[in-house]
């Protein structure tokens, strides 16, 4: 794949829908060399705390295949637990997807999203959100096709992007090498029309100003608008 970034600084991106056939929705998302297999599985029940509340639920699980990283990572099933990082990411993905759907209109169903990173080169959590939305939308289309629900409960597309700050300059869609050199790292999740649903900024060895945060936010809006366009094309 030609790895040239576009005018917004985004790496080449693709959404391969129906990559596998068993799940209700399946999408292999590629953002540069970061590849995530995202699937959506519909279960006809809800978690205990939502029973008899006439609403559905969307939740996510995230995992990095051991050989996805530059040097192999220990398998979490062998270690016997998910790391703090994994749990943090899958909670983020779940919140992002619940922001784009009307859980009452979904009915008493759970849509379980699995994001399994096949190859990692930076931005696995934002790529996961981008692919997960496509898988979710495919599962909803299937529910509609099967007449299980009449109208789509999806209120908006949702997408995410990571940005960094390196010597005062904003970088978009960080790959692994950029990510390890940045002073500041921010992730944004937005609905259509730049409506923010999640925003996380961290400066491990530095700090940033309100103005810099604002600049990154502006760049993120443009990138997310572009990604949402790609998602829509993939779903068309």
């Amino acid at each position: 794949m030609n790895m040239k970034r576009n005018e917004l600084g985004l790496r080449p991106m693709s959404f391969e829908t129906s990559f596998t056939t068993h799940p209700d929705g399946s999408c292999l998302v590629r953002m540069g060399n970061t590849w995530v297999m995202c699937t959506a599985s519909v279960e006809h029940s809800v978690p205990p705390w939502l029973q008899n509340k006439n609403q559905g639920w969307v939740t996510a699980e995230y995992s990095m295949l051991p050989a996805a990283t530059h040097s192999r990572t220990k398998r979490e099933a062998v270690r016997g637990k998910q790391s703090g990082r994994t749990q943090e990411i899958q909670r983020l993905i779940g919140r992002a997807l619940r922001a784009c759907i009307d859980l009452t209109a979904l009915g008493e169903r759970t849509i379980l999203i699995d994001c399994d990173v096949i190859q990692a080169d930076g931005g696995t959590r934002t790529a996961s959100i981008n692919g997960a939305f496509v898988a979710l939308a495919l599962a909803v289309q299937k529910l509609q096709k099967n007449k299980a629900i009449a109208t789509s409960p999806i209120k908006s597309a949702v997408a995410a992007i990571s940005l960094g700050l390196k010597s005062g300059k904003v970088l978009v869609d960080l790959d692994y090498e950029q990510d390890s050199k940045c002073d500041v790292d921010m992730n944004f999740v937005m609905l259509e029309e730049s409506r923010i649903v999640e925003l996380q900024g961290t400066a491990e060895h530095a700090w940033f100003s309100a103005e810099e945060a604002q600049n990154m936010l502006a760049e993120a809006s443009k990138a997310i608008e572009h990604i949402i366009q790609q998602q829509k094309e993939a779903l068309a």
Copy 2:
């Protein structure tokens, strides 16, 4: 305690230093009815991945006592693992404290921060950071007093605050009831002079704009400036 908020919207706040005597630094922080026992324990070793790198480490553990919450929470030691939420919070506290200290100047030592929530009424993670900084500073003072280090490796105070957005209005230092009603919830961690080191905003059932984010950031700056002043008085 009189629970009236001050002109910045902050609940009454206190830092009870040297609350217990065994740890190297100990502080009971109270922000309204949220009380956290923060301690700092100095260990004369570093984690394996830092060995022979001539630097120290600061890390944190967080826990909610089972009876701290409105209705009792199951004990994590009984469940056999820390929840995703707990891990997310203790990773945040650790990053916040590492941002305020020169790890090389600290030398080959680990300062382990424990934040145990004795009573919870919203904002336990931000109160933990506020109290943890005081405990950390006390432990560093002790190292200086014992001539273990000559000059303090602490570069700046660090403090944190939570803010919310309710029907477009900014609320500061959310208590439990406010927190459960807000559309948007943001946490800020800053060094002195409004230098941001961490920023997290989440909208579970709504969304927010770039302008609203900017407004919350401005309020947060003022609140954190006030908290840092209180920390300094407690340490004086």
Copy 3:
């Protein structure tokens, strides 16, 4: 606090009732520098094996905050399990409290006691029992006040004390330093009027005679009588 022992050899003792506000009963007990936060939470259900037996249950959980000890102890939630020592202690506390209450008169409720050691200086298990009784009694008072039960199911106060034998001499209410030097260590739990409900004696590097056991028992009776008086004053 003035740490002078009284004429029975007991360290200064205090029961701070309603230390925190969420639990049904809450008491911070101090015996010298050993401080334990004891809370009682009422649940309107019973464990599976007691269902439909027209009786209630009282059980306890115990934990040492990591920074409570002279040198920091590893957190059990991080280790992923409670130690054998922790389990042994919480089983003891549970038995002690069940001895003082009429479980049938309690009705189909569970009272869950949490004993979290904030600072440890010997005798944490006996201090836990002393404070836990106060928390339990407060929770029962609240049930009576709310008209949930008409008369108190508590049949007697219950209290505990540790004693040691050092070169043939009986020591009462051992602090950490004494405890580590004693040849023999005995714990007693009694109801009012010196009625024994639990008694445990251990000689790690020595042994003791029937007569010595009898002597320690006599001293324990007097100490426990005094503690029960303090508990009653705190509850008045």
Copy 4:
């Protein structure tokens, strides 16, 4: 086996030495229908905290085979952890055996005792101690035979017995049925010459007096003297 109790109230007892051949010491102890396979394995190392202290260690593990009890118990290896009861018992067995041996004279070795209950009919912890002493002594004999140590580090035999109180009457060596009906349950561990090393008394639904404790202790002394005689015959 004829199950008639002897004049001290003890059930028929036997020590089948060298029951299995791989361990350094092996003994199948039977006290009535309670059968425990006790083995001693010598390891030529000590736990980390004893390194370079010129002494050895004795420790114990206890387990109930699932089918040992009247109704099958869930296997602890399947449940993924040892119960609080199991840990309490194995800690008791370890302390009892360390009381009878000179750890310095043992040298830098660990003797690991395994007590696996093959059939349970009350008193499994006291039977375990009785059989474990025989297995330990056999392992020490083997060390002497192999010239690894010159003189035995064992200072005294050690044995244990359980007693109960039913309507004021003392019962010795309780079987399962007696145990479940007793008001009070006491376990004693003694060296030769009635030297007490451990004593535990519990009254789940009743209480007992100092005088009753003294009576049980007197009966325990006689029973233990008899058991020690049987151990010595088995080892002769």
Copy 5:
């Protein structure tokens, strides 16, 4: 015991029925120095996935006592999980026993088999199957005696044997020393009349031909026929 092998190469074998008294069926099987305590416990329920299907279930658990092996093995309950080897073996035992019984005729009951290896000298999984069948048959006899079932659901005896290949020569009923020297190791499970239900062959450092597999199979048939005869005598 005289350890001379018989004309088929089998070690001396015995089935001690009703070894312990609590389980519904109990058998201590000895094949040379490999001793396994096998028990069968009848539970009047079935696993969730079999509910309302008018059939029963047979399943097995396997464990090696720590001191059963030449050098002591770490206890699985202490390690907190069963090893892959243990799980592989207990799955094999379960399949073998389900092959010999009509689960519908058994009715809605679960027979839980426990195989606890008391002494290990090679072939513990095959000895377990041989003893487990006897325990199972005894439990079924008891169900018939209690009129819980009219006719036995057991369709055939089932037995197992291990064979090895050493320098082209077939060895039967491998002991530990033989097992560690063989190039190829095969286990066979058969019903009466040489009907194969399970067959597993492994060559860790070598390989084998179709012809060699056939030779081992022929020897296994004869050995299993002999074992089944012994099982029937024990059950008579």
Copy 6:
């Protein structure tokens, strides 16, 4: 993909080498709708028990992505442990690969194989072995290219196939539907020239004869010969 089986009954098969770029060897194997991502990671160390023995090691881990199956499977990292089935399969893959390589010639290195099933339609363990061999061979080629080793330690290709017996008829390369209907299920692992290294046959609700085992073995030989040819073409 055209899913027509070939004249040996095998489903269409493909080996996509260098599917991902981080691991030392990477291969996506497809056998019909069963897809497994197999990778090989070289580590420059050996497990503790092989240290200073002048040899290397090959081991494998296996996992089914949750959405790979017809109905979603619970994630093992969430359940906190690998199932018995998973462990059984990864032990099999490890043994198969160690059979094809000279561990001494490999030198003190560990080659860690990961087999992650992306889509499952029967025969995941045998497909894993087929793809794992290709990944292993690629990693060895890379070691040779980097001059880390002079000559390849691989002695032969290794491949595997599953067969079934349905009403006496042999079926090859079972898909999920066939697998669930077969009376007997056999897996074969062979080196070149029909040299058997592993053979496992199971009859859950039926049995099979020596003659039927022999017939399956003959079919397996032909299928494996064909697979090995495909592996060689992929590696050419």
